[in-house]
């Protein structure tokens, strides 16, 4: 089966346009399954859960799931850029904590800074960490795994140094709004996720920069030969991933009402999981941001559903792990691609 498909693809185009339509039909079928399989899986999961728990489909629970998904979703969108560019970012959890704690320190005390100052500082810290990652990877040719593993440790350490290991509570009301406010009944974190999704969907699908990310991830040497400034693209990608980690840090801090130095541990793994479930190839150059969104939603729904069904959180981890592997295993496009 595997060889069959690839052979059709290899031989058909060369024999001319007469036999071409069959290929295009195949191709579009595969693309169709690839793009919508994850969405179908998501809705099947929702149907299953709504049959097992009457509470699942209530507006309150749906909003709850979305809110719980928002931080991982935002991190996963940044991670999608990085993985599309054939990299990995293990530092997002730590960067999230560092940004959160810096923002919290500005939004607390007798006379807290206005929220926009804290927000700018938090995003700036995330961006700076990401840019360092990008520069170390592109200019010094350190493998992304190693460079961001280093940043994971450095950023976490800086978080503890900066906070002296203590939580930073008593945040200003305007800052807390980021995590707890609502607009037309929709929690602000969910709106942040929606905005991030739209912005980066446009970036990846409509802009030259987005094209360059796919090209650099698909084949860096070819991209360079084609005249693309591959190093700049990589620096920008890691910078953006860092900034989105910063945004995640702001939201988490506001939701938990305090800057916590230990926040965000192993968040990078959930972000990677969402990207992988969403069908993005770890080999770079192949994947969509919509897939990632549904990947994050699937993780959110599973956590929520297992809670509703009264499954212990220990089992939840086992289930989640199995689903990550199965999602990749069952992805029909994967075989075609490889």
């Amino acid at each position: 089966m595997i060889t069959n498909t690839s052979n059709v693809a290899l031989t058909t185009p060369a024999t001319g346009s007469e036999s071409a339509p069959s290929l295009s039909r195949r191709q579009s079928t595969m693309t169709y399954v690839h793009q919508y399989g994850i969405i179908v899986a998501f809705f099947l999961l929702c149907v299953g859960l709504s049959l097992s728990s009457e509470y699942f489909l209530t507006p309150k629970n749906i909003i709850n799931v979305l809110r719980q998904t928002s931080i991982n979703g935002i991190l996963a969108i940044g991670m999608t850029l990085v993985i599309l560019a054939r990299g990995i970012d293990l530092s997002v959890g730590s960067v999230l904590a560092l940004s959160g704690i810096v923002a919290a320190s500005l939004a607390t005390g007798e006379t807290p800074q206005p929220a926009w100052v804290a927000v700018t500082a938090g995003l700036g810290v995330g961006l700076a960490c990401g840019l360092v990652n990008g520069l170390v990877i592109s200019r010094l040719s350190v493998p992304p795994f190693v460079a961001t593993l280093g940043m994971l440790s450095v950023a976490r350490g800086l978080t503890y140094i900066y906070s002296e290991g203590m939580p930073i509570p008593d945040l200003s009301q305007s800052f807390l709004w980021l995590g707890q406010g609502r607009i037309w009944q929709i929690p602000v974190p969910v709106l942040f996720l929606a905005a991030t999704f739209i912005i980066f969907w446009v970036v990846l699908n409509k802009t030259v920069f987005g094209r360059y990310i796919y090209a650099v991830g698909g084949n860096e040497r070819s991209a360079r030969t084609a005249g693309i400034g591959t190093k700049k693209v990589l620096v920008a990608v890691y910078g953006l991933a860092g900034m989105l980690a910063g945004l995640g840090g702001l939201i988490l801090t506001a939701r938990t009402t305090a800057g916590l130095p230990q926040a965000g541990q192993s968040y990078e793994l959930d972000a990677i999981a969402a990207v992988v479930i969403g069908g993005t190839s770890l080999n770079g150059g192949v994947g969509t941001i919509r897939g990632t969104l549904f990947g994050a939603l699937i993780i959110g729904v599973i956590n929520n559903g297992l809670d509703l069904l009264g499954v212990s959180s220990f089992y939840q981890q086992v289930v989640k792990g199995c689903i990550i592997v199965c999602a990749v295993l069952l992805d029909p496009a994967r075989r075609f691609r490889d």
Partner: protein
Amino acid sequence: MKQEPNLAPGHLPDNGPPLLLSADGVTKSFNGVPALRNGVLKLRPGSVHALCGGNGAGKSTFLSILMGILQRDGGDIQVDGREVHFKNPRQALEAGISIITQELSPVKGMTVAENLYLGREPRRLGCFVNHGRLNAIAAELLDRLGFRIQPTSLMSSLSLAEMQLVEIAKALTHDSRILIMDEPTSAIGQHETELLFKAVRQLRSIGAGIIYVTHRMTEIFELADDYTVFRDGAFVESGAIRDIDRRHLIRQIIGRDAASQFRSVAPVTVKREDRPLLETRHYACGSKFGEVNLTLHPGEVVGIYGLLGSGRSEFLQSLFGLEAGVKGELRMNGEAVRVRSPQDAMKQGMALVTEDRKGSGLVLPLSITENIAMSSLDRWSIAGFVNRRQEAQGVQEMVEKFKIRAASVNLPVQYMSGGNQQKVVLGRWLQTRPRLLLLDEPTRGIDEGAKQEIYRFMTEFTSAGGAIIMVSSEVDEVLGMSDRVLVFRRGFPCRESRDGPLTREELVHLAA
């Protein structure tokens, strides 16, 4: 045995030795699309049999069936007169058939000897690898073949050509009597090719049968005894090489008379007052290539010939800003310029088609559109947003110009044939409106029809005032396409042959 009505008369007398391999009427379809409609091949012991055909002729499918990678839908295949049905490559290997493909699969972290006998290492006590003996038998094999490669070297330290030789030696370790070689010389130089031919002739002399697949006519006429042509998935003709000429074979392969094979225009006569497009003076790059002093005028094609490792590719790379440590002067239109990156080179109107299409030319998972547009997006965008209409138009122009055949421009280029892939690369660069084309092995691994189209494009490009520097290891191509030839030799300044036509022998001699 069946009758073979298609065979040329006088070929394969009935009283000859029994055939090593006989395939007849082999068919194979994929989801109803026939890839092979009638595969026929008769392999005599002690012969080299050229299997010819363009991309999509069904050769790969046929060979995959012989090797047990695919199973046939119908037809007969007999090895030594016995009907066979290989279910996997292992069974084919056990029946004495091995294959050397274009795609190399070395374990790079292991030594040459370990790669040669992977999975069949001589052992001590049944579980420890006997390294002494392993290296000894490997050394003996490499020596017998005349390959100058140390069995203890790491695979990762070898050049591409050397890896190819190891791959060839590896196929020979199986003591196969039927050896399939699929474009074995596409990545190696003249010298290695000669070694390979020597090894092939040696195998032939001990009674092995070799099925040899190549797009290079010269090799077929130098090496092969018999030939078989496939076209559009079906057997067309077979016979003895000595009975036919090049023209006949090309006609059988592409199904029509080949137009004039190389450039048809008269050589350019450069006027003194014409300003050269490119000049290099004392241009050299450390240990990679010696001094190059080249003056190139609009309308000219300069061919570069040299052995592997002579620095011919590195020269093109350096012009395009991909090599560090270049010394000397580079002038474009009479002005001294510095080219430090491909972006700089593109600003000077250069374009580079690399020799490794898949490794440094295309982004395989991306579509035809995305690959062609890649270098022109600055022009085809507004405020960083891709202008889809301009892009589609620009891509369509190239698809039509180069007759790129594909179901859709959204098809990932990894599913295209080599010839069509190369046209995508050319299309990308043509859209940057270059004046100087740097072509590194522009016709490697592509079929005769596509080759002709690329030659035609080169002629058109220079007629319109462009200039081309072309590296090629095909002597005929270099001689047929170039106004002048530069000969590269490792560690020496390059030499230019300006006066009078060169012969094949002179060229090869100069490079060695």
